[in-house]
Symmetry: C2
DNA sequence: GATGAAACGGATGGATCATCCGTTTGCCAA
DNA sequence: TTGGCAAACGGATGATCCATCCGTTTCATC
């Protein structure tokens, strides 16, 4: 998979100037730190921390949500890789389950990713493209378990992302003292849902 | 169940003056409308719409979250009534399931309620009291299904609220055209989870 | 109806937001 | 190289939003 993200936000755009690329990276890096700390994103503050003018930040990311999307790109790419590995798996159910474990885990580790996955509307073209790629891979995994008759009737592909984001939401609500425990809760709730959608 | 909410926020407070009660009601009513419309709550704007000074709003509700809590009281009381009815039910599982259907439905119909249930930390004493009452009733329902051996081992009472809020979250993500469809999605996802936590 | 406490209102200083425009930087053709 | 120009930059600034403070009004009590 190519890493196109050093450019503006997609393939079609004319390449950014060198300084623009540098600034964009700096801004994203600051954004990553803020998101990780759970600090609400203020674009003026991001500019200050990145040692860059306010207008530069706004030019690249008109809204905090746009910056969050950009921050989520790394996590999105990792997830896509996980999905690609999963489609190589022989056993449909194992492939499906393993990917979903990643899907939930990734959300718990990366608030930006979680936000993007829970919000179907991408504002940056780069994100939209990655989401498409991810959902196409997910489709492959889903179709296989469905064909294998492992899923209860009534469960559709369109149900899966909401369900997984719901699981992540539940895990985040769970009173956990550390990341470890929260991941365990995520795994626990995922098991509940997997149990619930499987044929018996 | 008494409706204490016309007073400041609890039993122990000295009764509010007549004008204070009136203003408080007005503010909550405006808050209710804003929450229903999905409009983000701005306390200055609430004051304007309620025909009341800004300070009055801030005195009653120091933060938007506090106002949201107050707005959620009605829904919380309704939910408590539903729980009281459920504990009267003979069949443990039916009682449990029927209450959870209400629990999810109520969240989908009332964003304020949803917010309060997803945020364990109550800032108004009145809300804290109602949440206690609700969770005590919920406990009764849970203990019965547990005792009847209807729940998979590993599922605890502490899992239930996160799971139900997760279900509501999933339903809200589901691309629904109207309230009807969203309620259907909520019911669908609830069935998945109920399936997942039940013994087989 | 006099008195004190409770509540009110909105002016206002402070914080945050996001645009605009004069300046700088990088790119490319000559 | 260098000259020209488009792209990108930065930060001052007006607009908006937030929340406190204090002089005034209203209510309850005697």
């Amino acid at each position: 998979m190519e890493l196109l993200s050093v450019y503006a936000g997609g393939v079609t755009d004319s390449p950014l100037r060198k300084d623009a690329v540098r600034n964009r990276q700096r801004i994203i890096e600051i954004g990553r730190q803020l998101v990780a700390d759970g600090t609400p994103i203020q674009l003026n503050e991001v500019a200050r921390a990145a040692g860059v003018g306010v207008a530069t930040v706004y030019r690249h990311f008109p809204t905090p949500q746009a910056l969050i999307e950009a921050v989520s790109v790394a996590g999105l790419e990792t997830l896509i890789q996980a999905a690609e590995r999963a489609v190589q798996q022989d056993d449909p159910w194992t492939a499906f389950r393993d990917f979903l474990v990643r899907f939930v885990d990734a959300q718990l580790l990366d608030a930006a990713l979680s936000s993007v996955l829970s919000t179907p509307t991408a504002t940056l073209p780069g994100t939209a493209h990655l989401l498409d790629e991810l959902s196409s891979l997910f489709d492959k995994l889903f179709v296989r378990v469905r064909a294998a008759g492992l899923l209860a009737p009534g469960i559709t592909l369109a149900d899966m992302t909401p369900l997984m984001c719901g699981v992540a939401f539940s895990a985040r609500m769970h009173p956990a003292t550390d990341t470890q425990q929260q991941a365990a809760a995520g795994r626990h709730y995922l098991d509940v849902v997997l149990n619930g959608i499987r044929t018996r």
